[in-house]
Assembly symmetry: C2
Homo-oligomer: 419 residues x 2
């Protein structure tokens, strides 16, 4: 048994924060959290890992990002979506036919994720099977866990990045066959978005999801032009989500990025089918998509998680994604004259941690009975406060100010992978 001692802070559910000064987490030898102790015992018949005065928080979960767009973070931010896709995104992703380039880029991305405290991801790769396997290898090596999808896209994707329907099917099967070797990183079916996939491919993916019990991720209602385009492509579907539903892709654990313009009916369909929202605040601003009604979604009981959406988003560090989520919610609060109350620090932190872990089947912030996902944050390097801060206050400063240099240790799936 192990005992990790420190100042424990977590959000068991949205709006609640537990602060345990000088608390502890008890782990079994294989890294499963067995108990959360409000007070660390003086003596323990266990290996003690003493984090001193540092804070122990749940790790972050990034529920939407495009790994092959990592090289273009912070590029083309002034361009409209379609120009941005054509000038940067597709050409960028096409580069991942080169496995050496993929290896270098994905090694760096995996390191940046884990040292930044993100231990679980739900991630898009490119359409390249081999580069996707390289990505999964590098995530495993670094200690990042979660789901990765080879992207399916057999129409409307330009010259540089294209697969035929046959290629898409064949490569998807080849990729799935090769995924069995991974322990911590699993495959998820990933039609890029409705305009990128023929009906034939969508139907085939839906059957595959059913046959093999695979999860699905895609994009939904990001901007108004996209929604109009989807309506043209599927005149039989009253709403965007139904283009996924009619092929069996709209189901429990399906992750839909953005949902900026999802109205009450579309949101109700999410709730009914167990679909999870990956809210990407930074991306939605950068690309001028709009501001998602997160407060409404939470009030309605939807599962809302956060995504960095690299590279529509320009920040990989999830604590910055959390504070950006707060900022954007404040703009929505102002816009609605306070009707949609803004997200508090505790709430947004819950979305970036607890809500994501819950999607992976580990509930409560720190999930007793599950392998530990946690970070240790040392706030000793921040400016000296004018008085002793409460643990709640120290937690807030960490969320706003921490960077990699403050993250002293990371546990991922029960293993200490940093520090």
């Amino acid at each position: 048994m192990k005992l990790i001692k420190g100042n424990v802070v977590y959000s068991p559910r949205c709006g609640e924060l537990v602060t345990l000064p000088h608390g502890a987490l008890a782990l079994s030898d294989d890294g499963v959290l067995t108990e959360i102790l409000p007070a660390a015992p003086e003596k323990a018949d266990a290996e003690v890992i003493d984090c001193g005065d540092a804070l122990i928080l749940p790790s972050f979960v990034d529920m939407h990002l495009h790994a092959p767009q990592y090289p273009m973070v912070g590029l083309g931010m002034d361009l409209p979506l379609i120009d941005w896709l054509n000038t940067y995104t597709f050409k960028n992703e096409a580069r991942f036919a080169d496995l050496d380039f993929a290896r270098r880029t994905y090694r760096r991305l995996a390191d940046d994720l884990i040292t930044g405290g993100t231990t679980r991801v739900c991630m898009f790769s490119s359409l390249h099977t081999d580069a996707t396997l390289v990505l999964m290898e590098e995530l495993e090596r670094a200690g990042v866990t979660g789901y990765v999808g080879k992207v399916n896209m057999d129409r409307n994707s330009g010259d540089v990045l294209h697969e035929t329907t046959e290629e898409s099917k064949r490569e998807t099967l080849r990729w799935l066959d090769a995924c069995g070797d991974f322990r911590y990183v699993k495959p998820i079916l990933t039609p890029r978005f409705t305009p990128s996939c023929t009906d034939e491919l969508m139907a085939w993916l839906g059957r595959l999801a059913e046959e093999r019990g695979l999860y699905v991720q895609s994009h939904l209602s990001e901007n108004l032009g996209e929604i109009a385009w989807v309506r043209e492509l599927h005149p039989d579907c009253p709403q965007y989500w139904e283009t996924y539903a009619k092929y069996g892709l709209w189901k429990d654990h399906t992750v839909m990025a953005h949902c900026v313009h999802s109205d009450e009916r579309e949101r109700e369909a999410m709730l009914r089918h167990g679909v999870t929202v990956a809210h990407c605040a930074d991306s939605n601003i950068n690309i001028c998509s709009g501001v998602a009604p997160v407060r409404l979604m939470l009030d309605e009981g939807l599962s809302v998680t956060l995504g960095s959406d690299i590279a529509g988003g320009a920040m990989l560090a999830m604590n910055r994604v959390v504070t950006t989520t707060i900022r954007v919610s404040k703009l929505r609060a102002m816009k609605t004259d306070g009707k949609d109350g803004f997200l508090t620090v505790d709430e947004a932190f819950c979305l970036g941690t607890t809500a994501g872990h819950r999607w992976f089947g580990a509930d409560g912030g720190f999930a007793v009975g599950k392998p530990l996902h946690a970070i240790v944050v040392d706030d000793g390097g921040f400016a000296e406060p004018v008085r002793e801060l409460t643990l709640r206050e120290r937690f807030e400063r960490c969320v706003y100010l921490m960077d990699k240099s403050a993250i002293r240790a990371v546990w991922s799936e029960g293993r200490r992978v940093v520090g």
Copy 2:
């Protein structure tokens, strides 16, 4: 003579960007910029400082921040303005009666500013004369230049932070007498804001500004409650700005922070009197003040600069303030259906550099004939791009991604103070 070689990028005016790959800056021995060279000469009869493949940019200018609020950055961000002031701000500032604490805090702030590439500031201190002098000493020591104000506040400031009208006058004179020793940091008169100063004090400050040729900084039209309060206090003034104007504080070089709710008439009064706006995008969101009409201000020809507004703002790094300014302008663009076009990277960078330097009398981004203010940014640590980037693209990535670790050298008022 000295020659600084590297990739030179600057914005001579809002909307223009000059990129000079393998260019150079020529300096006199005393640090005055004598020439901007589009191509660095092969041989030069000068001391050569070779920045290799790094970028040479103008340094940042932070036109509004509260030095004594540095210890509370990232605290109380969920509170409404008045609770935030009473719970944190006033108590925090009161702590600066302790000169040892002031010394430690201000030394750190000055270091964080200069290593982050901010070489010019227009800054609020607290009401404490001695701590203000400590602040000025520490800025000078670190190489930060600009203006600092002992705050005047003789009403409506609670129990912990108060001065009588007589004390305020006496201490202001004592402070001004002691400021003669500083070479790079100058005093600026700083009535906190209209509700904090009696009419008698305002009138006295106006006369002092006139007699001694001093500049003035304060707050204007930050939120609607404040505006209503000012109207109650000065029923004779149709608008907020006139409470400054009637005492001679509304004049050339006056810096007004926020101006979120300044309407056409108030903006016209700024233009007519040479008043400069310090736009504080992050603070305005965090405290839910609103979104200033920056695009309109620029179209009308106003002088708009940027401020971190620590600690209403939660980021000291001015490149992050620049990108936050872009993000907030995109939200305003969406809100106005594109009528107020968003600020491009080039434009927002211009506001955070060139526009600030212009207030100090140094125009054009890099001001030939003036002591150099510049930073050297090494983008070699960013993710490997998929192709060679243009200098314009590299510049954009720097604005979005740089942190202290990428800033290799800083020149301030002609002196190399970092690197």
